[in-house]
Symmetry: C2
Subunit: 224 residues, 2 copies
């Protein structure tokens, strides 16, 4: 049975360690590292604003605009070029140290594995290649293909369709509460990776699995 | 002609001064006022998450959950009751000082005026009454009535329908870039009030009017 199960992984923060981009963004915000979560949340908010208003815009473009807006709020003037340069390291991230051993184990056990990200098609291809994860995944799915951001329910339905899988046979794995919430609403199973600084949204249902890292994720998936 | 024009006002931050709630929220975040924008943006993000996943939840409930999640991120433990108590002052806000004189002028000039807010029906009724603004508005519209948060395009289309107005005869007035962006996409005219700390999202089209306060808004509307 396990071999028919499909694991869908979020990319940023879930597989890849965002520390380098948090550092470069903090640095152009005049070293105010405490503003980095505000930038990231503003980017997520505005990505959904484009979905709610029916006009897709590129994730990096949204990230750049969110960074400039965050900076202005604190009287920091940033050019588009400076903002883009600060975000660019997102293309060259390493996987969290627990990721590769767990992906090996899961691949060995016969799970089908794909990624599903808000990053663009070229963005995720670059990221996964740089991180050395290419061989683990049969597809790298990007919301760019349908022009709707996660966690809109249709994104997960579309992803399941692309994989010829019923949503109920898919497990969405993410370090973001909103991401697993969207997958759950689309009928998928869900696993939340409680990376440091990532927390569940208390007003949403608890995901099927809540684990601290990929090692525990693999253990739990193999138990099932 | 002017007398047929409809002005639709956002409530929180646009008409009403959020300072008391920023203070109470900052206070339960152990005095870390710099975390208040992260709380507010998280609330906005998760309100759209509920819309994107097709399950409406009350705005205050989202605000409470966002506050608890923001607190946990910084190792601050808050009960639901403490979080709710910190947000409650949102019901008892004063209008910004520029609001009442401008609303008088606009009412005199024959504009029809309503509010449109992410707050609940009972929430906005309480807010507008407390602020002493009841007589200015012919309706207090809440997204609760359709179960979709701003800036989803359908909210503005629904509001225009409720007012028997074409979107093109409505001007959405808001201190939030995402709010005017949604109204614009629905075919409304837009005016952005550049309240301190509020800035335009650089990746979106510039609103029809950008003014520092309601006094300038009234001047511009009367010039047209």
């Amino acid at each position: 049975m396990k071999s028919r199960e499909l694991l869908i992984f979020d990319v940023n923060e879930t597989l890849l360690d965002l520390k380098p981009v948090q550092e470069s963004v903090g640095s152009v915000l005049e070293g105010r590292r405490e503003l980095v979560p505000l930038w990231f949340t503003t980017m997520l908010h505005y990505s959904l604003v484009t979905t709610a208003t029916g006009k897709y815009q590129d994730f990096v473009e949204i990230g750049v605009a969110a960074l400039i807006m965050t900076a202005i709020k604190y009287d920091i003037i940033l050019s588009k070029e400076e903002a883009l340069a600060a975000i660019k390291p997102i293309l060259n991230l390493s996987p969290h140290t627990d990721v590769i051993p767990a992906l090996y184990t899961l691949k060995e056990a016969g799970f089908r594995m794909v990624t599903l990200t808000n990053s663009s098609k070229i963005g995720v291809a670059t990221q996964i290649k740089y991180a050395g994860l290419t061989d683990f995944f049969e597809q790298l799915l990007s919301v760019e293909e349908i022009g709707i951001y996660k966690p809109h329910t249709r994104v997960y339905e579309w992803a399941a369709g692309k994989l010829n899988a019923a949503p109920g046979n898919c497990t969405m794995v993410a370090a973001h509460s909103w991401d697993v919430a969207g997958a759950h609403r689309a009928g998928m199973k869900t696993a939340f990776i409680a990376r440091p600084g990532q927390h569940l949204f208390p007003a949403f249902p608890t995901p099927g699995m809540v684990v601290p890292d990929f090692s525990k994720l693999a253990d739990k998936l193999l138990e099932l």
